[in-house]
């Protein structure tokens, strides 16, 4: 029986889709059977980030409304054997799926996959409620901005109310130099408010933009700092102890590579 993760944030544009793609791709390259579910109905883009847009025939709404069988809607990744995508519908809206349908869908997917990773839409409305309905665990993504942290806090409260306890936190787009200069919230500032477990920190990195446009998640790039950060997150999800990188030092990624014996 697999596990269902929902990747959520409250605030838009903080990196949910990027994170979903990189966690899914990373877990699949570690040999796991993974399905990514795009629950951002109406604003489909997980397929684009994975470079699978041209293969879509059926989508999640076709499945939940009985237009096709689940198996027909699942798209196989072009690189990784164990990776699959259930795409969102582009032409419908977020009310096209109900929380009950989502729960049923997740139960089905869990039978076949080790990990089900759901890309949640921004906001706290129906789309959010649908996306979390079938989840066992939540990962909250935030950026080091006061407004994003505020929304993450709101989301954590709503997750708790929905019995999704102890979410894990990813802090995305951190810029060590700005943190050092006191121009950006530090990891400690954010944890002090949110009081949840940190599962990873992703630096601001133009390789994310480059790889996203190529439809090829950065986690597959062995040289980028953000790819390394996502690989660490995936190892933590798989239960490994990977030391958290210190943002204090310059070149902390170099040090990190040394610690975990890469390069």
């Amino acid at each position: 029986m697999g596990e269902v993760f929902v990747i959520t944030s409250g605030k838009g544009g903080v990196g949910k889709t990027t994170t979903t793609a990189n966690i899914g791709t990373g877990l699949a390259s570690a040999g796991k059977k993974v399905v990514l579910v795009d629950a951002d109905i109406g604003l489909r883009n997980l397929d684009v980030v994975l470079g699978l847009e041209n293969r879509i025939v059926f989508d999640i709404v076709d499945v939940t409304s009985g237009n096709c069988r689940l198996r027909q809607a699942l798209i196989k990744d072009k690189r990784l054997e164990g990776l699959h995508l259930l795409p969102a519908a582009q032409t419908k809206d977020k009310t096209a799926v109900s929380p009950d349908q989502m729960r049923t869908l997740c139960t089905e997917l869990k039978k076949e996959f080790d990990y089900v990773v759901i890309d949640c839409p921004a906001g706290i409305e129906q789309g959010f409620r649908n996306a979390i309905a079938g989840a066992d665990k939540a990962i909250v993504v935030t950026t080091p901005e006061v407004s994003a942290v505020r929304d993450a806090d709101r989301i954590i409260g709503l997750l708790e109310a929905a019995e999704l306890r102890d979410p894990k936190l990813i802090i995305n787009r951190i810029r060590p130099k700005m943190v050092r200069q006191g121009d950006m919230m530090s990891i400690e500032d954010i944890i002090d408010i949110l009081a949840v477990d940190l599962i990873g920190v992703i630096p601001e990195d133009e390789m994310i933009v480059i790889t996203t446009n190529r439809g090829e998640p950065v986690v597959l790039d062995q040289h980028s700092r953000s790819g390394q950060a996502y690989r660490n997150i995936n190892r933590r999800i798989l239960g490994e102890e990977v030391p958290m990188m210190s943002m204090e030092e310059d070149g902390f990624f170099k040090k990190l590579r040394k610690i975990i014996g890469l390069n």
Partner: protein, 148 residues
């Protein structure tokens, strides 16, 4: 208008022995609710009595109480004590860093230039018609009959 933090520690501590002693037994009475979690952004508590929070009150959260508000953690949201007009109501927190603090019909906020880093409990109350923040001395250790 901004509230003012009390003068020096020793001054305030000695202040407890002087003019305006606070009867700590009155901080919470039988009309008190205990909130055993952190209040996160968007969550609020309204109560016709005292409110004690065993956790933080995060930015974007709100508490409104007819009586006192006690937060056993960081208070960073909006708080209103004495919401029904009680001028004797107090707000007490381990880390008192509210977005806005109201007692009775006094509405105050931290001074704009202040980055409070309170690492000791503080208490807000009305003194001479002005909301004032003071260091809070628990005195729990040398008090008999606590937790009556």
């Amino acid at each position: 208008m901004a509230y003012s933090r009390g003068n020096s520690h020793s001054d305030i501590l000695s202040g407890f022995g002087q003019g305006l002693p606070l009867d700590q037994e009155d901080l919470v009475d039988e009309n008190t609710i205990l909130v055993q979690r952190t209040l996160r952004s968007g969550q609020s508590i309204r109560y016709n009595g005292n409110v004690v929070v065993l956790g933080d009150v995060n930015p974007g959260a709100e508490i409104s109480a007819a009586g006192n508000v006690i937060v056993m953690g960081a208070l960073r949201g909006v708080v209103h004590a004495g919401a029904g007009g009680d001028e004797k109501a107090v707000v007490l927190a381990f880390k008192l860093q509210p977005t806005q603090l109201r007692i009775s019909n006094h509405i105050t906020r931290p001074p704009d230039n202040e980055t409070p880093d309170a690492d000791h409990p503080e208490m807000a109350r009305i003194r001479d018609g002005v909301v004032t923040i003071e260091v809070f001395q628990t005195g729990l250790n040398d008090r008999a009959g606590v937790g009556k």
